[in-house]
Structure formats: structure tokens, C-alpha cells
């Protein structure tokens, strides 16, 4: 049975020793979303709202939060990230619109970047909420999860189905 690795011999949290793990290229892709009403959707996407600016700010926020992951997640190793990319797609959802948010993160290091990718999409979604909340506070951030990871001795991970 797999063991939690974040605990020391006293049963308390520690930052696990990864100094013997190989330094390889590692990637992770995470996904989140935020559902907004039609008014917000139109303001974000149409010319009225200087198209794209909400997304531009949210994307910068996602990238900067990604670099802060080890400051936000207590047992997460500080790791020099080599690449971060955040992309967007809109899907209609009944009367509402869902902004799909995907982050890919890459490193050449001795531990994975799953948390970095998850933190990036979370901060991106939170920023969209912040920039639009004057119009409607009822927006909902959708399910947030790891889509894929590669690299490292524990094998790759890939989620089959898409959630929302």
C-alpha cells in the first residue's frame, strides 16, 4: 500500500528528501474552469471590453502564482521552473459560458510539477472571478484537477475523461 510521504517519524509533516531523485525533464498539465453569465461573457469577449484584457491579466496572475507555488503549498519543494503556458477556451453551458483554463508546466529537476500546474489554473480562475465580480458574484469555479504528468520514477499519469 502506498504511503503518505509528507510525514516524518513523529507523524508530523516534513518536506520529503528528493536529493537522490534523478534530475529529469518533468511536465504537468492541469485544468480548471469558471462559469460566468452571458453579460460577463460578452463583456470579456466583445469589443466593448477591450477584448482579452480580463484573460491577459488572469494569465499573468496564473504564471506568477505558478512561480510562487512552493510559498503557497507548505510541503512543496522550491524548484526552478523552465516553462509555463496557460491557454483558454470558451464553451457554452446552458445560458452561461464556461471558460476552460489549461496550464502546462515544465521543469528539469528532481521532483514533479503537478502542484505548480494546479496552482496556476486556480490562480487564473480566481483572477477572472476578481475582475468580473462587480457584475455578478455568482460565478462558480469548476472542478480543478490534474490532466497529465510525465517524468520521474513513479511513472506517468493521464486522466481519461474530461470533467467540468
Amino acid at each position: 500500500m502506498a504511503e503518505f510521504t509528507h510525514f516524518n517519524e513523529e507523524g508530523r509533516a516534513k518536506m520529503v528528501d528528493v536529493s537522490e531523485k534523478p534530475e529529469t525533464v518533468r511536465t504537468a498539465i492541469a485544468h480548471s474552469s469558471i462559469t460566468v453569465n452571458k453579460e460577463i461573457y460578452e463583456k470579456i469577449t466583445q469589443d466593448k471590453m477591450k477584448k482579452g484584457d480580463v484573460l491577459a491579466v488572469a494569465q499573468v496572475a496564473g504564471i506568477m502564482a505558478c512561480k510562487k507555488t512552493s510559498e503557497i503549498i507548505p510541503m512543496c519543494h522550491p524548484i526552478p521552473l523552465t516553462g509555463i503556458n496557460i491557454t483558454f477556451a470558451w464553451e457554452q453551458d446552458g445560458d452561461n459560458y464556461r471558460l476552460e483554463i489549461t496550464a502546462s508546466v515544465k521543469t528539469k529537476g528532481n521532483t514533479g510539477v503537478e502542484m505548480e500546474a494546479l496552482t496556476a489554473v486556480s490562480a487564473t480562475a480566481l483572477t477572472v472571478y476578481d475582475m468580473c465580480k462587480a457584475v455578478d458574484k455568482g460565478m462558480v469555479i469548476g472542478q480543478t484537477y490534474l490532466v497529465e504528468k510525465t517524468g520521474g520514477k513513479n511513472g506517468d499519469f493521464s486522466r481519461k475523461e474530461k470533467l467540468k
Copy 2:
């Protein structure tokens, strides 16, 4: 029609001027969750896993991230928070278990703390993921949303139904 307030006359992002808004007590409650498999649930909640430690770490993470909100969300005002409380509840969900995460945040200031509450629950959920991901990377962070806010001139907000 409500206007986005985060944009300046050039249509670019700015941090809006709140210096004329009244300094009042303001509260916000936000909610998130994370669904884990039975093995993780048992490790977290039973004696084997030094019950509560995962949650203790996650809670500290949520509180510390809450204080970092204005560093994570670009247009968010720095605001001296006066209180933060994060609580947990477990619900069974088929074969899985869902950890319900609620954060209440309070300030005495001239802008609301919705983003602080949302950031707190997000960081809490991300930390649970981090501490348990050696067992299963398939955990999913559930919907994240504002439950309630009070204080400020724009009126209170309260979400009726509970999401998951």
C-alpha cells in the same frame, strides 16, 4: 448595466480607487471541496495517519495564502485582515469521500474580502492534494464559490443552493 470596475480609461487593468469607500466591518464565506478515495480518507481520518495532520497543514496553508491574496490576485487591494477561520466536514460520495472546506474571513476596511475567502479555500484544497498525491493523483478539487458576503455599499450576497 453594471460596469467592470477594474479597467482604466485606456481599457487596461487598474487597481480601482477605494479611498472614498467607508471603512466598515466586512465578512465573506467561501466554499470548496476535494474528493479523495477511501484509502486516502482512511489514512487522513484514522489513527494510522496521526489523525488530522493533513488537515492541520492544509488549514495553515489556507490561512497563510489568505494573507497573501493581494500578492496572488493582481487587482486585489492589500487589506489588513482581522480574522480567518477554516473548517472541515467529510461527506461520503459513492465510493469516495468529499472533504468540504469552508473559510470565513473578516476585515475592517474599505473593500470586501471575497477574494481572500476564495483564495483561502483554494489553497487549502491544493494542499490536501499535495499531501496525498503520493497515494492517488486522481483526486478532484470540487466547485469553488462564494457562499456569503456582508458589509459594504453594494449590499450583501448569499448563495441559496449548495454546490459540490
Copy 3:
């Protein structure tokens, strides 16, 4: 003769006591610029470069750095900023183009926000450099200075001439 206020009785640096200064609305406006070649100017401003994105990122950087001022400038007081706005203008300068950067910052507190405005324009200019340096590393950040301040007991300040 005016005295430096950042030094203690041992002649060493301290963060001066402002607890008796009145809590009033204070504003500051600072200015910087960055001179780029024609190729960069065109890439930033024409459709080819998804117009405005460099400036959008630089602006977010300026706002976030502004909030970090007391972390960057050692003797600067942490102060809850109430508003930040960064604006841009282009001026031709021989064969080159100069991006004029202006930041206005506002607070309701017991110390001024000159450093916050200066930090905002500096970070904005540095970010433009970063985003364009793959094209030309010869860009030069122009003079950086305080344009105006209001509020506080020491009187207002206003620079007459414009520098570049």
C-alpha cells in the same frame, strides 16, 4: 536644514515612526519611459503582435510591484494602497520610439506614496524590457522621477519641466 529621517540615534537606518502623522488621503504620480527601436515599436503596436499584450503584462507587473514596494525598499512603511493606475503614451524619438509610463497611486494613510509610484513605473519599464529583449537588448529605460505628490504635512510637490 532638513534632516535625513531614516537614521536612528546611532546613525543607523531605521523605519521612522509615523504613528503620530495624520491619516489623510495622499496621492503621488511618477514617470518613467523606455526607448525601443522601430521593430519593437511595430511589434508592440500593430496587429502582428496582438496589440497591447506587452503593455498589458507590463501594467500588471507595475501594479503588483507597487503593492510590493515596502518589501523592495527597506525603510518604506507597509501601507494599504487604495488605488493604482498606470497609463502609457508613445512618442517618436528620432528613429526610435519612447514609451512614456505614468503611475498614479493613492492611499488613505499616515505616510506618502511617492516610493510606490516610483516603484510602479520602474517595474513597468523593466517588464517591457524583459518582454522585448529577444529582439534587441539595447533598449534604454529613461529618467525616472516624481511628477507630483499631494497630502501630508510636508506640503505638496510638483515638478515643472518634463524630463525624458
Copy 4:
């Protein structure tokens, strides 16, 4: 019997609600020290070592860490400090020399600044260690404690005896 105030109804940590506490001027003084050998003492204090630089750097470190207190101490409230002053004194201690470090911190807020003063002296002592450790790693940071606090409803505190 006094109760711990940092725990919520589930017995977990929270950042306690101080929004009803009065906003008054509050001060705290903390003390630490570091004992160094004669060689280090002479290098710091004599002309050879550009007298005072180690202390100048350590003092800046103490002031900057003081402003970071709520990022370092999880349940500590973010609070806008109004003044920080760090002073030094040398005392001979057998063959060694003890650098006495005192920090006074002031705020006008609704919670005390004991942790800020304690964090300031700790960071100052750690920085002296860092700057001199190439000469001797055997330096010892002495006892660190609160000397005095004033302001707030719980009454003032003053430690009678001096520790080392």
C-alpha cells in the same frame, strides 16, 4: 484560566478575530544577542572591516523581516507598522564578545506587535551569523525574549531581569 486564542471550535488553528479590538498605539521591545569570538569582534568593530557594515546589513535584515512577520508566523495578523528601530551594544563575555540586539516596534492598530519585535531581533542575529560564518561557525545566538509591550486591552508587560 487563560485560554489559547489561536484555535477554533474544531480545535484547529485560526487567525483570531480582532476586528472589535480598539485601534490604539501599541509598542513592543524584544531582545536577542549573538556571541562571537575575538577575531570576529575585531573584524566587525575595527577599521579593517569597514566598521559597522555587518551591523548595517543585519539591521536592514531585521527591519525587512519585521515587515514580513505575518508571512513568517502563520496566525499573526498583517498589520501596518508605523515605526521600527534596531539598536546594538557590545558586551565582553570571557574571551568572547556578545552583540546585544534590541528592536522597538510601533503600530497604530488593533493587535500588538510582540511577534514583529521578536522576529526583527531574530532575523538580525541570524544575519550577523550569516555574514561572519566563514570565520567561525561556532557562534551562538543567545536567548530571545520580549522585554516590554504597551497598548491594548490586556495590559502592559515588562520583564524585570535581563537574560543573555
Copy 5:
């Protein structure tokens, strides 16, 4: 005679060049303590206080501060830590109780982690103080020092006697 290495040719502080130092596994162990009265000891260790929570929070604080070392200590190199572990032990000390705090830190890099270990134990002790200060502000943080370091060209260090 050993030279201070943190100063440049002008006698001012610099962050020394370590790019030619070998990248090897390096470890450091540091020690601190905090002496508390019987009431606090019992609240922390007995069931009344949900045993362990003060220590759990303090430990998370120590680990997170350890990762922040290069932000707190001015001339300290940023270095990707590979492991951090903090352990506790109680010793009776007359009517009082002393919590012994030990941190072990590991990296694979070109500079040592002494400061990281010292910062970890300091932040841990400060957090215990913060969580218990509502009961008694007279707690004293004990001597803080390096116990051991390994790795790097300057040889290992090991302190023989135990201090308190």
C-alpha cells in the same frame, strides 16, 4: 586568517560568487528551544488542547520559513532545498518545560544550508511563542546554534556540547 567573504572590494556587502563551487549534497542541522510554564506545557501536550496542534502549526511555519531563508537573510543564496525535517522533544527545566527544536535541511547545490536550518528552528520557536502568548508572554526562546554541517569544500562542522 580567514576572511569575511560577504564584502566586495569597496568593503561593502555582496552576495559572494559560488558558481565555481561544486554541486554536492549538503546537510545542516540546527537547534533552538523555547521554555514555557507548566500551564502552557499541559495545554500543548494534553488532550485538552487537541494535542500537537501548536507543534503542527509551528512545524509548518519552520518549513515555510526555511524555504524563505534567502528572502530573510540578505546575502544568502537562493538554493533549491531538497529536504526539510523538524523534530521536537520536551525536557523538564525546574518548574518549566523546554521544547527542544531540531531542524535538518538538505540540498544538492553549490552552497551550504546552515542558514536555512537556523532560520527553520528560529521560525518554529517564534511560532510556538505566538500561539501561546495569550497565556504567558514570559516564554524565552533558548540558545540557537548550528549542530552539524556536512558537504562542501570547507569541511564538516560538528558542535560537541549541547547548549540550552
Copy 6:
């Protein structure tokens, strides 16, 4: 024609992938300045002002900001710096005095440190402004630019003429 490298396929900002770039020693030198009036110059340089302290604080600020570069510049990679050195020189400029500020930064990594050197000189100049602004708010920070870079596949860069 050189392409901007900070944009993804949607034309939005990303942190470019450097994981395939070779890990080599890289250096960068940047320059800035600040022009002050005679009164400030004399206070900084003569005995009255405990000579050098303004510069000591400014230098620490420059070094600490240098380490924060990837937090300030959104698309900048976090990179473990191996050395930072900041030097000063005074030049008379009519009735005023110009403090010349030079920063050299070194790393062994897979991306350059131009932004780190530029951020270091900017923060140094801003700190001089902050420490002297009680005497005169009319100080002007001079042109800020890259002097030289070495290392990396894109070739070295060296600016011929000196700017002010």
C-alpha cells in the same frame, strides 16, 4: 526577423520553455544612476551622515531585489543566482552629484540574468531616493540599461558608449 519569445500560440504571454537550453555560467552587468543636490551629496559622503550608510542600505536593497526578480517581472524564470555585486561611484554634474550604480550578476543556469542586473540597479536607485527624499524630492533616477552580458547561445552583448 527576431520573434518575441514571450507569447504563446494564442498571442498571449507565457514563460518560455528553457529546459533544452544549456546550463552554463552566465553574467550580466547593468547600470543606473541617481542625481542628487549638493546637500544630499554632502550628507551621504561626509562624516556628518555616518558616511556610507545610505549606500549600505541601498546596496542591500539592490541585492535583495535582485533575488526577487522573478517575482517582480512576470515572464522571468526563477533562477538560482550564484553571485551579486553592486558598486558605486560619484560624478559631479554641474551643481549636482550623480551616483553611478553598477550591478554584476552571475548564475550557472539555462537562462540569462539581464533582468536580475537591471532590477538590482533599479532597486538600489529607488532606495537612495527613499532614504534622501525628506531633504529633496527633486532627485532624478538616470538612464537604466544593460552594459554587458555573457553566456548562452544567443551570443554576448556589450554596449559601447556610456549613458547618463
